[in-house]
Symmetry: D2
Subunit: 505 residues, 4 copies
């Protein structure tokens, strides 16, 4: 647990802050203005209750039941029923940091005053986060038009039903609340809907995937840079001016980073490169990483809005003295941005695979076939190209779009969807596979470096550090051995972020 | 564990027998002729060794190393190296029954005499199966041109390396062998290649998916039949003659089974149906299930060949006094049959979803919207359509083909692939999702039956039994409650096969 | 126009007979028994009319209008309205042979006596076919649950509306009928529905695609065999016994054909091959072609039923004295078989591409890079790999499934679909691309053969013929030239079937 | 032909300017500074020639031939050979405006001084554009890593080979040049490569697709707005503040436009709407259109860089006194942006389809089923939902990604690709289908408006104009008629841009 505290204002949440709360365990506080907004919007809702204005999901049913009136005496039961009846999710469970991310994202948007829920609920979110109670949330079941099927499980914990983790241990939610000294919530009008109706599942998981990707794209630069040294590649495509000619942001970011990573490398010596022009997997790596970066920048712009604006329906508009029905839970713009990102990542993956294969190809490297240290007796890296390909094919498959595969549900009213949770979850899976793929590339590059006979051979500072970190866990392949364990070690090294830490990236 | 014994002959293995060994724990024996074939082909191999004929993977390297000679004194080390260097797999672990299925499939094909491996290895397979030792096999890493990256892990256990399960407990393979009173193998010439070079991973997992599907397609008929009763549907499309007019095998099998399942149902009463023509999800259900059955029949024809023929390369041909290089590990014909099956299943899934939605739609059923028992106070089955849709979208996504996504590896020699293991694994995932989808349909049908006001309403014998089994675990929905647990219960009921048992199907 | 006549019996139509009528212009006659069946079922329908039994699409509306009654005095107008209102198609126009195929397929199924339409309509189909009138049929608009949106345009011609081709010239249908001495039809009860409600568009186009594929798979064997000679490949994977070991039908058919095609080739000389084991694109070609053949055999079994059985709804069942509602227009089983075929073809395509690339790769062939006749001055076949890849990527894209992408239409009644017409049309496009891809392979193989320096080099009889046919239209590449025209020539040669004719295949 | 002239500066080309030249026939001029840049970079190249510095594609071969030296005496022949040998394209021909777009895009980037080609070539581009000569360019064959396979055909025209259109008439290029008073070019060093090595095919076609889409997204707003009036939908989701809450740019642009379009409509009357909450296809239309707009904005940022920066390889860097090898032809970032756009468009399509279906559904609209004017005798819009679905399924299929489907070509050097031309071309096809889909929606909305019985019913000014324009070509459906022609009329109206013109959008 982290000692830091993230102050929520409703409009200043970032990927990094979410990660701090979700992963590092930072606590959350509310900015004073936000607290007032919360209070004001709730008072406004009560005013409407007394005026008998019909408001969706408040004194009416929801979905196709929206034309049914809810009599005042049933408010409490109605809201509990809504929570329970919306518990229609399917496992597996979302990871604990993911559930925390959902809670902080949803909590932040409550502070903007467009929801009108009981302030007690906001404090409950805060308490769950700060006292380390994490509801069990099965991650499947939502089609992305508000993640009601799943977020209901967070609400369930709040009313003392279902299960939750307390300090990492699973138990009945009631017991978890008790251990933390909390009382289950009594739900007031609109609370049920406000609890379930949000895209916080997809947004929370999505933000964590982005957090992961921001590291991964740097890792990809690092491994590429290391491979280029192992390959004795040509640095001309990295030239600052030649990249500036193109002006694409992502390409320039990666090229600049790779130039920095190659500081001190022998690759800058004149005429050292194998060839005037390397294979595209090397030559265009920064362009390909740049495509991922560009996609990620675009997505982040959208997600910064998502995390800091209300996706409530209906939306409380105090300025107009109204609670208004809307479609602000529709997030197809960032769902398709995630799909683009997946496609961009499939390119990054393919390029890493081809670099790895090239590193094993004698007529490109001048090194022994399959990087064997002993062509007579050691088979080395022949078969390892198959898991590479298999994992890459899986990424190709995952990159197929799915956001548009839906049909009308809920009495024909919900006739659009984005499948955003699944879109995010398949991107998460792509990222996981990429740790393996980049790990296998790193294994090859390290072996190639160790085999380089040239006396000019000299890794840059970064490359040297990378080589060391790899060799700490994966020795030089002098004899054939079980490589399944080497692959697993490389995966762990990359996923841990250790390489980034040691390079201060 | 099952007391039965499956006698392996090399040419009579079936989906059912594999399941008996893999799941039920039946023991295996060799037919006497098979034992002789094993011996003969091994003697033949030794004859060639002495004649110095160059044989791929035997006294040459493998893959792109095939042009390297292996000197006789290195046979042992070469084969151990081959096993180790081919261990390049990625988790998760295959399930224990799946690994057993791989072993029995591979063992069976050894008995045909085209492999020429040490008979000791065949006995080792038998011992592992019969003494309940199951190697740890990470299931990813193969691209389907022989599953060498993964099957190597079975070989690893045999030589006392890596890990294995003994009676369900994971431990070092060496220890597992010791506990069972077995010695690690000493590998002779060609043994390494013979151990790893086979499609037994995909075939083993594939056969178990087919075993599962043969049950699932019956479950789909059962749930459809039950839904039709709940829906008060029209039975005219089930008419024997009208189906015979079409002659499609699968359609007729499902129609015949559904007619049987509806024995005694009120649906056969004259003029009972809601409508002259039901929605297609009801009217064409047998046609859609039939498409799955037809696909499955086609696949089974191919798999019966796969399980009972040699996929070895090189292939020992005693009649020609040769060991001949070939491409018999190429299984793209059944890989694409699995892809077709996945697509057919996506149709079955969609139809089940639409039936479920129709069961909730008042103007089709004449029952209350969302099958609520109390329109004023109980929300009932409104939101549950979302997980249905979400799971169906996932199936749509999984049904995308992937067999053709590959590129040249292994020194440009392995430039075709089928990704068969992943193709099978995604089909397995489709099946798993279908248990949920059919489970949710069953929940709806059961509720609709309980709400049917008609006095003629009378479930057939089968429908009655299904209703009872469901109600044992999922009570009538009288009040809103957490449906996540109901969905999980329905899933378990269907997956367990309990409904099939009680209906003797 | 062909002088032959195809006699239609209702149960003996084949792919070849359809092609004879559709492409070669053979005339059609009815078997006497079929004529009687036609008459009997019509009389039966009139009997029901007089009994006032409600029959779907007859004295009721169709689709969601099925609950509306059609009064007897409106029969005529109702049927004309039905034809007109079902004209909702979108271009481009189906090719003329395709429309002829639709007509012969539909006509054949009428003869089984399950339709009950006016015999005059059957004679009209016959007249249109035999007198060379071909309705304009826009090919898009159907979702495959009977191709009503498009087949209505054939009906339109029959009632003298819309446009048609007479002897290849487009004109108003009325005029075309007049020129051929025909009167527009007067529609009786059930005729409108009978005219539009059939899968004859998808079936007709599908059968012609299959006809094309039966040629293409032989062409693929021929080009592969020729490439193998150009490559100096290893024939061991073609061995009869080694293929028989596997027993897969398609693989054995291709292997047998390739062995025949290689009769007399130098490849059978001892130790002539480049390598013990060729790249898989060569080694496994018969397995891959076999996967296409197996898929095609499976599909043909289903299509033989489709062409020779009634897909009418409702279905006239004289034995039961009933016209019964059904779902026999549901063809998802063969829709998914076409999808499988597309995937299998994407494998065939990829293998052809990789063989072509290998033919251009010096270290595999021992020939100059990019098959240049003059490395100093002629660039030759470097860039041509790009259109190969581009066309192959397009095939990969087309092979994505689409049959399951639909939603409920027609008042929520038509909630299943198969998109069969589009599935067939994308397969047709795949086939077209394959002519280019195999053509480019042939260009390479011919060049490689001309460059082979070995004195043992000797094409077999078939290879020799192929080389000659290619050289008639595409000269040896001695200087760089515009290859776009060579590619177009190779495409035409393959598509024309000329290679098959000259080889008597 | 347009009288305007577009002045090219190298850095100020826009989608609109390209359209002006490509479609409207505007002439092009060079800014004076650009002309100087052209001259300077050419002189620089000649300086290097004299210094014998090895430069890729200049005095070396290209692709895998890059390690071959080209002797000075062969410069001319080498460059002509390069043009010819790169002609490896496959039809169909790109449309004439598309070829013009390619030329203006390529010409503009030449002016930046990074290419170093003969200034004569730039003037030749200008002449072809201004004198209305358009080379025949087969549009398939490029994999997007520079469109060399196709752009070579523009070069072919310049050297007087191949075919071209002169004032719309196809003829030998030599003849076209002669008619326009032009001489074929004599190629100098680097000219061949400079002519073929650019992404101008994909960029040119892509920019025109974007131009089309910028109109289409406005059309989608217009038709949606019209449908909302026909549907009697709820305007609350259009509220300015409620959209501002979300801050997504595209959503706000569409919402603002739809509010404007609804000026004067009866929908703003209090309590007029059918329902508190409309189906999502209506409620979230601006969010869905917004996703398309957001994607398009993102893409345009990238394309503005693409059109105004050099994609040459090698790149002439005068500041560094070098010609440097690079990967600046790698455009995967905007290839994947096009893929995202396709996915976003599939959402727009689906929503339009669902709105259309809803307009036909009595219990949503209060109008007769299938918008029939006479339920007894007119079938009206039942079957038309099928082409809608069929076209939408095709869009779903086209939206599958394809950019990552490639493998290593050109001697294993070109091992990355983006398939950008095909990505663009499939997007073009999606747009074409959307004209049909929106056209069918418009047909429905117009009929519904005519059937609206409410006395308050009053179209806004825009809606009124739309209704009029539709009724000019498609009369009210009073009797069943052939709707295929109505669909074609609606398609033409939308594609022509006539609706936009009349509404001044």
């Amino acid at each position: 647990m982290d000692n830091r505290t993230v102050v929520l204002t409703g409009d200043s949440l970032t990927v990094e802050k979410v990660a701090q709360v979700a992963i590092d365990g930072a606590k959350v506080e509310f900015a004073p203005a936000a607290q007032q907004e919360l209070q004001k919007s709730r008072e406004f809702v009560y005013k409407l209750v007394n005026d008998n204005v019909p408001v969706y999901g408040f004194n009416t049913g929801v979905g196709a039941n929206k034309d049914r009136t809810v009599a005042a005496e049933y408010y409490n039961q109605f809201n509990v029923n809504m929570v329970r009846s919306h518990c229609v999710a399917v496992g597996p469970e979302a990871a604990l940091p993911e559930v925390r991310a959902m809670m902080v994202v949803r909590l932040n948007t409550l502070l903007l005053g467009y929801t009108g829920m009981s302030p007690e609920i906001a404090y409950m979110y805060q308490n769950l986060l700060n006292k380390n109670i994490t509801p069990v949330v099965p991650e499947r079941g939502s089609i992305g038009e508000a993640d009601i099927a799943c977020l209901s499980h967070i609400a369930l914990t709040m009313i003392g039903e279902g299960e939750a983790y307390y300090c990492g241990k699973k138990m009945p939610a009631k017991e978890a609340l008790a251990k933390a000294g909390l009382q289950p919530l009594i739900l007031g009008p609109k609370d049920g809907l406000a609890l379930v109706s949000s895209n916080a599942l997809a947004a929370g998981q999505g933000v964590l995937v982005m957090h992961e990707l921001k590291k991964l794209i740097n890792l990809a630069d690092i491994i590429y840079s290391f491979s280029l040294e192992a390959f004795k590649g040509n640095v001309s495509p990295l030239d600052e001016e030649i990249n500036r000619v193109r002006r694409f942001q992502g390409q320039n970011e990666s090229a600049a980073q790779v130039r920095r990573l190659l500081t001190g490398s022998y690759l800058w010596l004149p005429n050292i490169a194998n060839a005037l022009q390397d294979p595209l997997c090397f030559r265009c790596a920064c362009h390909i990483h740049g495509a991922v970066r560009d996609s990620l920048h675009y997505l982040e712009e959208l997600m910064n809005i998502q995390m800091n604006s209300s996706d409530d329906n209906p939306c409380v508009l105090m300025s107009q003295n109204a609670i208004m029905s809307c479609g602000n839970f529709e997030v197809v713009n960032w769902a398709v941005a995630f799909e683009m990102l997946g496609i961009a990542l499939s390119h990054l993956s393919r390029a890493a695979c081809f670099r790895t294969i090239k590193l094993s190809t004698a007529h490109f490297t001048g090194l022994p076939r399959f990087l064997t240290p002993d062509p007579e007796h050691v088979i080395a890296f022949g078969t390892i190209q198959k898991p590479l390909t298999a994992l890459d094919a899986e990424i190709r498959h995952l990159a197929n779009p799915v956001s548009m595969d839906f049909y009308a549900v809920a009495g024909d009213i919900e006739d659009h969807a984005s499948n955003t949770p699944y879109v995010v979850q398949k991107t998460r899976k792509i990222v996981d596979n990429l740790y393996y793929i980049l790990g296998i590339e790193a294994i090859h590059a390290a072996q190639a470096c160790d085999l380089r006979p040239e006396k000019e051979f000299q890794l840059g500072t970064a490359g040297h550090t990378v080589q060391q970190k790899i060799r700490e866990i994966i020795p030089f392949l002098a004899q054939d051995r079980n490589l399944t364990t080497d692959i697993a070690s490389a995966y762990k090294l990359l996923k841990s972020g250790g390489l980034l830490d040691v390079l201060h990236i």
